[in-house]
Symmetry: C2
Subunit: 420 residues, 2 copies
Amino acid sequence: VLMVKSKVFGFGKNAWKMGVDDPRKVIHGIKVGIALSLVSVFYYARPLYDGVGGNAMWAVMTVAVVFEYTVGGCLYKGFNRAVATLSAGGLAMGIHWIASKTGEKVEPVILSASVFLLGAAATFSRFIPTVKARFDYGVTIFILTFSLVAVSGYRVDELLDLLQQRVSTIAIGISICLLVCILICPVWASEELHLLITKNMEKLAESLEACVEEYFMKDGAGDGKNSCSQKSQGYRCVLNSKASEDSQANLARWEPAHGRFGFRHPWSPYLKVGAAMRYCAYCIEALNGCINSEIQAPESTKKHLKEVCMKLSSESSKVLKELSSSIKSMKRSKSIDLLVEEMSTAVEELHNALRSFPNQLTQAAVQPAVEANEEKKHSISVTTTLPVMEVLPLITVASLLIEISARIDGVLDAVRNLAD
Amino acid sequence: VLMVKSKVFGFGKNAWKMGVDDPRKVIHGIKVGIALSLVSVFYYARPLYDGVGGNAMWAVMTVAVVFEYTVGGCLYKGFNRAVATLSAGGLAMGIHWIASKTGEKVEPVILSASVFLLGAAATFSRFIPTVKARFDYGVTIFILTFSLVAVSGYRVDELLDLLQQRVSTIAIGISICLLVCILICPVWASEELHLLITKNMEKLAESLEACVEEYFMKDGAGDGKNSCSQKSQGYRCVLNSKASEDSQANLARWEPAHGRFGFRHPWSPYLKVGAAMRYCAYCIEALNGCINSEIQAPESTKKHLKEVCMKLSSESSKVLKELSSSIKSMKRSKSIDLLVEEMSTAVEELHNALRSFPNQLTQAAVQPAVEANEEKKHSISVTTTLPVMEVLPLITVASLLIEISARIDGVLDAVRNLAD
């Protein structure tokens, strides 16, 4: 009993925390309650009840099924439900009319055959990607309504009445859904997508900087490292965000003009920005792997590249942050060109540092053995054997940083494309 | 008109191709048709119709909504629908009984308030991850049934009859769905998940080998390169497979024992294998970036590491292929230990090659200037300056290959965990 009690208590605590973290989830629950209460008015108020009769339950069902978290989701389901009901109802009426001309024995055969054929064809169409993305719910409702009307037609005499009532009650249900959804604290899928992209970009910038910092500061205090570690994991959100980006872009397509977004705002560039960011995140993931690998360059070698690497990572992260804030404000950034230039300068500096890397190492190591540096021939200098295994991780980190900055250019292009 | 015609034609062609590529999709469509026809028998056969009356439409609706592609999906929806209908119906009956004691004026207030509260609470509960994953559909049906019964109760005198009919027709619908779904060419979510994991692992192995081959063979014939390129992109499937793995594992949980899988077969280790594979794929993606980057090591430097790198990639890919076939046959592989050993030998060889890398380069470059090699002091040898920029991409490739083999060890652990 105690275990059950603690479990229930923990569950309640979690739910409470979730509600406090994102009050919109609580508001969504309340909105559904309001919509359901509104629709039940159709039952309680006698004149309305007399209008639509016992079929008022279709309105209740519609509200329970169509109400979604985002306005886009609500519109998608409402539109699909309305169009599918109308088209399937009309088609079923037509087939029923034809079947009724053929006599009582053939009628059920024709009806069953049509249900079979249309059901099979509609179900198959759900596998087509475009249909799946935009009309999946509509196809379900099409099958449902068609079967319902075609089959009912055999028994119910006033088929037209049934259909008309179904259509009008569903219309009432959808209007209540849309009104409540849009008027009370609306959650727009487009805003969510916009926010997701900018937040992910900020996380990417932060984790890139934190990763490199962590690598070069590994001998620092333990406390600072922990908080750093958490920051440096931000790119993981970007890795797994494809599904939610896709679904939000799908829903955003349905939304009317609102705030800063017009109707038919182009959403596919957002997906491209998301893809470019993910492309970047894959590289940061590999970088993270190198940073946490067992073989590590000694501190003395690390410090040769420390400054240039950290400069590059901070410049790259600045570019990402500037891009993020430029998307957020939906304005072209003025300083972005300067920042990109600084990033390429940093890349060039890292290149130069790498080019002179063995020399630097030599100078550091050779000092106690200066006497060996007597003979210098053209293009041949006397150096210690470069211990490749020691610098291997360091060189990999540097080269991944260069690759990351190249991929940030890709993000930049995608964002420019978005701005156009 | 011509454009529309060609569009329709193209659409039909795509659909046909899809059907030929995966006949199970066509079969699924036919199965839905069969289930719908079966349920319509309840309308046409008089004795059956007399049993459930006009409410037979609930059975039609259930079939249209519950029938899913996989057995797991069908069971998930059927179970959710049945339990939610029963519990919501019972609860609504109880509240209706209490409300009916309070008099005609207070009754609608109590009913509306209960609909509001339960609707809001149930909707909020959908945001909880566990509920979302396993009972999302059930919560919708709970809200729907509860509102329906609670609101109808105000008018329909024989509330118990309504509920009983709803439950029995839904039971008929669900049984038809399950029978058709399981008896006619069943598609098991567990088999799909199993297949997805093994196929992805094979793709990973192939693309790893193809990537490295492509890098070292870049001067080869153009024809061979193209087919190679396609193969080397296989890892992309792995990058984006998280969503489908998660949903299939969720559905597989609902499936009864069948074939090689018992009931409550542990599915989370599969997800861990998938995660380990994705971890690997991120690194291959970075590798691919390096391979296609602008700065390239000259062929002469490349060939020093060609053999060891290609050996490592082929050994790694052999390990992955062996793991994949061991998952496929669900047997512990006998040769896996040997293969892993060979992979670590290959890693060691690459390490050694890297260690002696500058010396090798020196020997190749120094020959014309042998006269400089006169004085050799302890630990200091005379070499040419190592052109770091030239070998940078090569070293990065090598170090990423080592990282990948370390991550393949992670996959190995996950597969062992799965086998236990």
